[in-house]
């Protein structure tokens, strides 16, 4: 598993080219933010935390609820 992750990481990073600040027109769009909808994401995490045995990953493991 560790080898696989390392391979994915190396592959991903080897394909990168440094994007200059003036080339960030697309990346600067709100819909390109990885945290575009934090409240929506928090609600999703809460629903799945209460119905499944897994939680977190994107952020901390969630919790703070007697539902699981």
């Amino acid at each position: 598993m560790k080898v696989l992750c390392l391979a994915v990481l190396v592959l991903a990073l080897s394909g990168c080219t440094a994007v200059q600040p003036w080339e960030r027109d697309v990346l600067a769009r709100p819909d390109m933010s990885l945290d575009a909808n934090p409240l929506d994401a928090a609600i999703d995490d809460h629903i799945y935390f209460s119905k499944e045995a897994s939680s977190g990953g994107r952020g901390f493991g969630g919790g703070g609820c007697g539902c699981n």
């Binding site: 409240l39 928090a42 977190g56 699981n68």
Partner: protein, 435 residues
């Protein structure tokens, strides 16, 4: 307009042109709204009168400039309906003592037993502060509190991130701690003790608690002008009372698989079968790897996320999720989404306990610790108003389908439903605005 103002306007317009933004005039920090709000109203409803949840949340962000911001989130949840207790279905009706030990409830013949005394209201408040602490470093700190009639949570978290490579790479680390107090209806049952008659709380203890500590390591990488990737590793260590105080297991005959019958003593009411409260280990370590990518195909944006989780209870899970945000005109979009989740069962998952055999140290028939797959399909529609606020509506369908391991199905159990499918509809409405 003075010559200096003209120069400022020209420079700002040139900067905007370089950045590809559409601002027509000079940019003043004061023009950005100091407060921005994101609100949500959610309905979650399971079929067959099971759990229904209505939830409202509002998040407020105060921007203090220089990348310093305060975030506050208030959430209120109201849960009603019935939840599977863990007992197996039988060909006869089954009577149980409620968690409070004040009354009984009865499940019809052939049905998976549901505890219909399920009712709760939860309030949660979270606050966090983010600010740069040096060139390329960003610090964040947060605290949270939530309360239900039988559960209280307090938590805190710290995070630090550093940008590298012309801010194309961000490495982050975080730690979170929480302390949860459990005060179950009627008291926390002694693990694996037998369900008793109404009014008898001798197998119940008072309150209990658990602590969770989480560590998170993250890497965010700009791949090219239209693609960004995030990788996270997280480690979570929970210790203390991890048992669900309301879940039970049926004690069944080793040949027929039927629950052992019981008659309450004369003058008392209580369960008409033998049931034991579940027992889980008092520690759990979870580890997960998470990867997500966002890629813009011109205006449409594809978001794909994958997660692998493993824990020392024997549960492994994989999650894959994809969303495609597709603009409609200049101000609206639709976003179809699909999510698939699969998990293996915990080592101590058992659909029932066998009469005459030694009671194991740990056992749970909670379906959420069983083997199942889940699928979510949804569609979101969003619209940005001319005033700059945005609303969206999202409809989702969630389905779980699981199975009890074949070697745990005994006798008559094979002709009865053992693991009911769960179907839920989720509707939410979001509205975001600034002041």
């Amino acid at each position: 307009m003075s010559e200096q103002d003209n120069l400022n306007a020209t420079l700002a317009a040139a900067t905007c042109a370089l950045l590809g933004t559409a601002l027509a005039g000079p940019v003043h920090a004061a023009e950005a709204p100091a407060w921005s709000f994101d609100s949500s109203l959610l309905y979650y409803g399971e079929s067959d009168d099971r759990v229904q949840d209505i939830s409202g949340a509002i998040a407020a962000k105060r921007d203090f400039g220089d990348a310093r911001s305060l975030n506050l989130t208030l959430t209120a949840d109201t849960l009603t309906g019935a939840s599977a207790s863990g007992a197996t279905a039988l060909d006869r009706p089954q009577t149980f003592t409620s968690p409070s030990a004040k009354k009984t409830y009865t499940t019809p013949a052939g049905d998976i037993p549901l505890d219909d005394t399920f009712l709760d209201t939860r309030f949660a408040l979270d606050a966090s502060w983010t600010q740069p602490i040096a060139s390329l470093y960003t610090f964040s700190a947060g605290a949270g509190f939530s309360t239900e009639h039988d559960y209280t949570h307090i938590g805190a978290n710290l995070g630090l991130s550093r940008d590298f490579n012309k801010r194309n790479t961000t490495v982050s680390a975080g730690v979170a701690w929480s302390q949860d107090d459990v005060n179950p209806e009627g008291g926390a049952p002694v693990p694996l003790s037998q369900m008793l008659d109404v009014g008898n709380n001798s197998n119940k203890r008072g309150t209990d608690s658990k602590n969770v500590i989480d560590f998170l390591l993250g890497l965010t990488q700009v791949i090219n002008r239209t693609t960004v990737l995030r990788l996270n590793y997280s480690y979570s260590d929970a210790s203390g009372y991890l048992t669900d105080p309301y879940k039970i297991l049926s004690v069944v005959d080793p040949v027929t698989g039927d629950t052992i019958a019981r008659t309450p003593p004369t003058g008392l009411t209580g369960p008409d079968g033998v049931y034991r409260y579940e027992s889980r280990p008092d520690s759990r370590v979870k580890q997960s790897l998470y990867a997500e990518v966002k890629h813009a195909f011109g205006a449409p944006v594809l978001h794909v996320a994958l997660r692998y989780m493993t824990d020392d209870w024997g549960i492994d899970s994989q999650t894959a999720e994809a969303r495609l945000r597709w603009p409609i005109g200049a101000a609206s979009f639709i976003e179809p989404q699909l999510r698939y989740y699969t998990q293996s069962e915990a080592d101590f998952y058992r659909s029932s306990l066998i009469n005459g055999q030694a009671v194991p140290q740990f056992a749970s028939a909670d379906f959420r610790l069983g083997k199942f797959d889940a699928l979510t399909a949804g569609l979101k529609f969003g619209h940005r108003t001319s005033g700059g606020s945005e609303w969206s509506a999202r409809l989702e369908y969630y389905q779980q389908s699981g199975e009890v391991p074949g070697n745990q199905i005994i006798g008559n159990q094979s002709r009865r439903e053992q693991y009911p499918d769960l179907d839920a509809v989720i509707v939410r409405f979001n509205y975001s605005f600034g002041l």
